[in-house]
Structures are given as structure tokens and as C-alpha cells.
Amino acid sequence: MSLRYLARRLASAAITILLIVILNFVLFRMMPGSPERILLGRIPNVSGEVVAATRERWGLDKPLFPDQFVAYLAATAQGDLGFSYGARGRPVTDVLLQKLGPTLLLFGLGELIAIVLGLALGAYSGWRRGGVLDHLGNGLSLILYSTPYFLLGMALLLIFATGLGWFPTFGIDTVGRVYSGPLDQIADIGFHLALPLATVALGLVGQYSILMRSSIVETLSEDYITTARAKGLTEGRVLRTHAIPNALLPAVTLIAINLGYVVAGAITVEVVFNWPGLGTLTVDALSSRDFPVLQGVFLLLSVGVVLANLVADLTYGILDPRVRT
């Protein structure tokens, strides 16, 4: 990968993030409902002076442009995303950081499992096209692919938590439990993680497997595969050193695009399992019109998608010599 390619990717990611920051500002100012009404929502019969004072305190009396906008940009650049209207005025950054961990744990791990499993399954069934595992895997992949997260999550929840009682029904850990040590805590979290993680991984594995399968099938019809076979290499080596590296190229791109949609999935899965992550935070913030938190969540998720795409671009640059110029 050349420095030029790296620089170009980085610059394009930076510009995208800047645009997201701007869009985030514009979008939330266009939303209905005035912020001071929400701020003072619980206090009945507020006087005009109180409203004015509140507006002043939160900087809402200043014009949107340039004052509010510039203040917003400056604060955002310093990682200051304002204060939550709800949560007793805690800084949004604190709220986000607290919820980021569980979401990263759930979706990072879920994506990883789905990618490894899906690509392996897809590569194998594409290679053994028409075989038993191909038919089985293809059918299962299609079913999983077309099942919405909440359905999958509810099914797992009903069977393994409510029904069989093997796993807890909600949360990230047992409320009020005192841990005997870090291992104990990890075990408890793992126990709570199992079902939501299975939901995320199963929901994604079908897509990745279908994707990789068609990519492998297409790659196997390429001339250089015939060349590799003509060299007398074993089928396994043809697959590993010639077919898979080429078949991964479209897979990397599509996985990156897919990461954007994962956000939608995050919300449903977290709500189903009451997982204390960004998804549940979003739903809570939406229902209480906690604009600063919502704004923060959207900013964080969009930046996350941009970064994921950057990683994909760089991975692509490493895998495919043709883009290194």
C-alpha cells in the first residue's frame, strides 16, 4: 500500500466525518419541539422569565448561525458534546463512553464471529458447490439472512432463557451481585452476553456466508484458477492460495458497507435483551427527546461507520496490489 493511497483514504475519511458533524448540527436544529420546553418539562406553569433565563443559560438565545454553529464545532472538536437533558445534566461524552463498552463488546465480538464463520462456511460451500453442506448451509443462511434481529432474539430468549432457563433474560450482569473476583465478573458477563451475541452472530453469518459463497463460485471460474490446477496443485492449495485471496476482495467491501446497517440491528438486539449499550440509549433518548444525547449517539455511530469503511479500504489495499498505486 502506497503512502499516497493511505493519505487519500485518511483525507476522505476526515472530510466525511466533518460533513457528518455539520449534518448532525443541521438535522437536530430542524427537529420539532423546542429544547427549553423539554428542559423545563417537569416544572408546571413556568414564567416567561424562567424560560428566557433557561434559553440564555443553554445558549439558545444566540442565533443558529454563526454563534451556535461555531460554538458547536469548537466544543465537538474538544470532545465536548454538551450535557444530557435527562440524566441530571451529565456530560454526553460520559454517557456515551459508559454505553460504548457494552455495544463494542456485543457487536465487535458478534461481527468477528460472523465474519470468520460466515467466510469459512461460504468458502467451503462454494468450493463444494452442490454438495450436502452447500445445500444445508445455503438454506440455513437464507433463513438466517431473512430473519429480522428481533425475531431471532425473541426466539432465542423464549427458548433458552424463559423456557429452559439456561441463560438470564436481560442486562449485562446480575443486578446487585457482589463478585468474588474479576474471573467471577467475567463469567457473569459472559453468561449474560451469550444470547445477544448469538443473535448478532447468527443474524450476520448468513449474509456473509452467502456473499462469500457466490464470490468463491465466481472466482473459481477464473482463468488463473485453471492455471493453478494445471500446475498440479492440490485442490486445497488452489482454494487457499488462489481462490480465497481473490474472493475476499468483494467480501471486504460488502462487509464494510454492511457495517452501516448493523447500527439498525444494534438497536433492536439491545432493546430485546435490555443490553445497556448505545442501542437502548438511543431508544431512551428518543422517547425523552434528549437531543444532545441523540446527537452524540448519531455522531458516534456515523464516525464508527466511517472508521469501519476506512479499515475496509486499508484491508483492501493490502489484499489487492492493483489499488496500491
Binding site: R229, K231, L319
Partner: protein
């Protein structure tokens, strides 16, 4: 400088395969039938082709598009598309029949004994692997040499085909078409095979580069004593580089023999049409698609001679009976009813038949 077969076989760096018969010819293809399965039936792409190849010999394979040249070549190493099957005949290498071999056993013969230079090296080389590594790959995995030894040999081979040292780390897309084809040739030589097949190795290259690649092949053949099967649409290429020529029509051999004989005195009406399309073999490089009419549908080929619908000499017997192959004293073999397989005719120099319509050629 011509080498005798003994010297050439002595040049082999690797022992002959265990089952080899040292007295057997290098390659002997007998009555090869390779068909493709379609829903409507079998496409008889290669339907009873026989030929042999001696050590150090270059055989040219020519014929219109779709006559089965590539299928014949792929049958030799059994690399057919998934719907293709060898349904009859034998392919004997050093007297070992490759047709009944298991896939595993077949792998041992590929590239070490028979390698292929495919058409258009753009797609025949893996785009994400360095060219030198692709050349080193069979040396390492087929000959079991160390990584460094394989790399060194790959560099030597690139030298041999005229690719500058500094391009050693290049990826396929960083090389020109001609360079890629040179790299492909270097790769084909990696395991020092007994036979190299070139399937239209120069198509898709411009004329200057074509000439260079052909010169390279010719030179390598002389220096290394390779046995070559060269598939091409271009008869002038065969005239320049090959010892013998095999003209195929619709999955069958029309005529086969020494290049000087076939080109000087073509016997099969199809060969004559082809050559008629090349008034001067050396000056005019036109393709073969100049004969009026279409080759037959190989799903349901006509009975008798497959050339009959287009043949200016067609006789009643032609569409009834398969023309038998007749061998002449000068080493030419022809499958055409104009040359009956009775003893009085075979051996004698046959009278040149004439018919209305031939002068058009």
C-alpha cells in the same frame, strides 16, 4: 542443430514416471472422445481424435473456432470444465494411459510432464500474487524445492524469457501484455516439462509482440529440446514454427502430416480451403473464418463427413459414411472419401481432384 530423441530424453532432469515404458513414444493420443454434457444431450467437441508427438517435436493444431482445439489440449491434462468428460480413447504419456487416472494421480503429471501456456495471460495469471512467486510456486510445491531455491530458479527463468531482473517483484497488472505472456512461458517451463502446450499463446497481442513471443518459443524449443503443441488460428505461425500440422474440423482430424507436405500439397478439401484463404502463407496473416458456411452443430453432428455441407467435392457417399483415415507414404493422414482406403490408392500420389466451385478459393 537438431537433436535426436535419445539426447532429448536424456536431457530430462527428473526420472521418468515409475510406470513409464522407455520405448514408448512421448505422447500417443488414440481415438479421443471428449464430450460436454448439456441438458439437450452431449456436445461432441472432440470425437475420435488420434495423434502422436515425438520427443522434441512441434505439432501445430489448427482449425476454425469451436472445432475442439482447446478441448483436445485440456483433455490431455484432464482440466475440462465440470460438464466435460472423456468418453472414450486413451492419452498415453510414455505409454502410461492418463485417462483412467484418479484426480490425485493426475496431479502428479500436470506441469511436471505437460504444462500449458494459456491464451491471454492477463486472466491466466493471478492478479494478487507477484509474478515471480507464481513461477516459483510449482517449483516449491511440485518439485519440493526450498523457498530460496525456487525463488532463484524463478529469477533464472524470467531471465531466460527476457524479463529484466528489476521486474522480479512485479504484479501481473504492472507488466505489458507481451511481458505477461513471457512470464506465462517462464512459468510453463518451471518444472522442466516434457511437453508444453501453447493454446493461442499470441492471440490478443499486437503483431510485433506476437512475432517476438513466437521467436522466443522457437528458440526455447531449440535450446531446451521441448516438445510443443501449438494451437493457433494462424497457419503462417504453424508453417514457421512447427514440424507437423494437425487440421481439425468439427471435433475430428481432417488432415495431419509434416508441415512441408501438408502445406505444399493439401489433400483434404477443408485444408485446401484453409490454405486457399492464405494465398501467401508468409505474407498474409488472416484468420481462418473465410470459408462460406458454418461448422455443424456438435450436439447433433451430421452423419458421414462433417464437412459435407460445405464441401465443394461432396459425393453421395459423403453424407452416409464416416470417411476413414488414410495414411500416405509421405506421412500425411487424411480423412476424406476422395481418398479411399484401398491399397491401390494409398501409397500412390493421389490425383488432385477438381470440382466446380473450387476456383473461388
Amino acid at each position: 542443430m537438431t537433436q535426436t530423441p535419445d539426447e532429448i530424453r536424456g536431457r530430462r532432469q527428473w526420472p521418468l514416471p515409475k510406470l513409464a515404458d522407455p520405448a514408448a513414444p512421448l505422447l500417443e493420443v488414440r481415438d479421443l472422445k471428449t464430450h460436454f454434457r448439456l441438458e439437450r444431450g452431449w456436445v461432441r467437441a472432440v470425437d475420435g481424435v488420434s495423434f502422436s508427438l515425438a520427443d522434441g517435436e512441434a505439432l501445430g493444431l489448427a482449425g476454425e473456432s469451436g472445432c475442439g482445439k482447446t478441448t483436445t489440449a485440456l483433455s490431455l491434462v484432464r482440466l475440462l470444465p465440470s460438464n466435460g468428460r472423456i468418453r472414450g480413447g486413451s492419452v498415453e504419456l510414455f505409454g502410461i494411459d492418463l485417462v483412467p487416472k484418479s484426480e490425485r494421480a493426475m496431479q502428479r503429471y500436470r506441469w511436471r510432464e505437460i504444462s500449458i501456456v494459456f491464451q491471454g495471460a492477463m486472466n491466466a495469471l493471478n492478479p494478487v500474487i507477484r509474478v515471480a512467486d507464481q513461477i516459483a510456486e510449482p517449483i516449491r510445491h511440485r518439485l519440493g524445492q526450498s523457498d530460496t531455491a525456487a525463488k532463484r530458479r524463478a529469477a533464472e527463468l524470467l531471465d531466460l524469457v527476457g524479463i529484466p531482473r528489476k521486474r522480479l517483484g512485479a504484479y501481473p497488472h504492472e507488466l505489458s501484455g507481451g511481458m505477461r505472456q513471457r512470464a506465462m512461458i517462464a512459468m510453463a517451463l518451471a518444472c522442466d516439462p516434457a511437453i508444453v502446450i501453447g493454446d493461442e499463446p499470441t492471440t490478443a497481442l499486437d503483431v510485433m509482440v506476437q512475432a517476438q513471443i513466437l521467436l522466443l518459443l522457437e528458440q526455447l524449443r531449440r535450446d531446451l529440446g521441448l516438445s510443443l503443441i501449438l494451437i493457433t488460428h494462424d497457419l503462417s505461425v504453424i508453417a514457421e514454427t512447427c514440424d507437423r500440422v494437425l487440421i481439425m474440423y468439427a471435433g475430428k482430424v481432417a488432415e495431419e502430416g509434416p508441415v512441408e507436405r501438408v502445406f505444399r500439397e493439401p489433400r483434404h478439401p477443408y485444408t485446401r480451403k484453409l490454405l486457399g484463404a492464405f494465398p501467401n502463407i508468409h505474407a498474409d496473416r488472416r484468420t481462418l473464418e473465410v470459408i462460406p458456411g458454418q461448422p455443424p452443430d456438435l450436439l447433433d453432428p451430421p452423419t458421414g463427413c462433417r464437412f459435407a455441407p460445405r464441401c465443394p467435392f461432396v459425393m453421395p457417399v459423403c453424407s452416409e459414411v464416416d470417411p476413414p483415415e488414410v495414411r500416405f507414404d509421405d506421412g500425411v493422414r487424411v480423412a476424406c472419401h476422395l481418398f479411399p482406403s484401398s491399397d491401390e490408392v494409398s501409397g500412390a500420389s493421389p490425383a488432385t481432384p477438381t470440382a466446380a466451385g473450387e476456383d473461388a478459393a
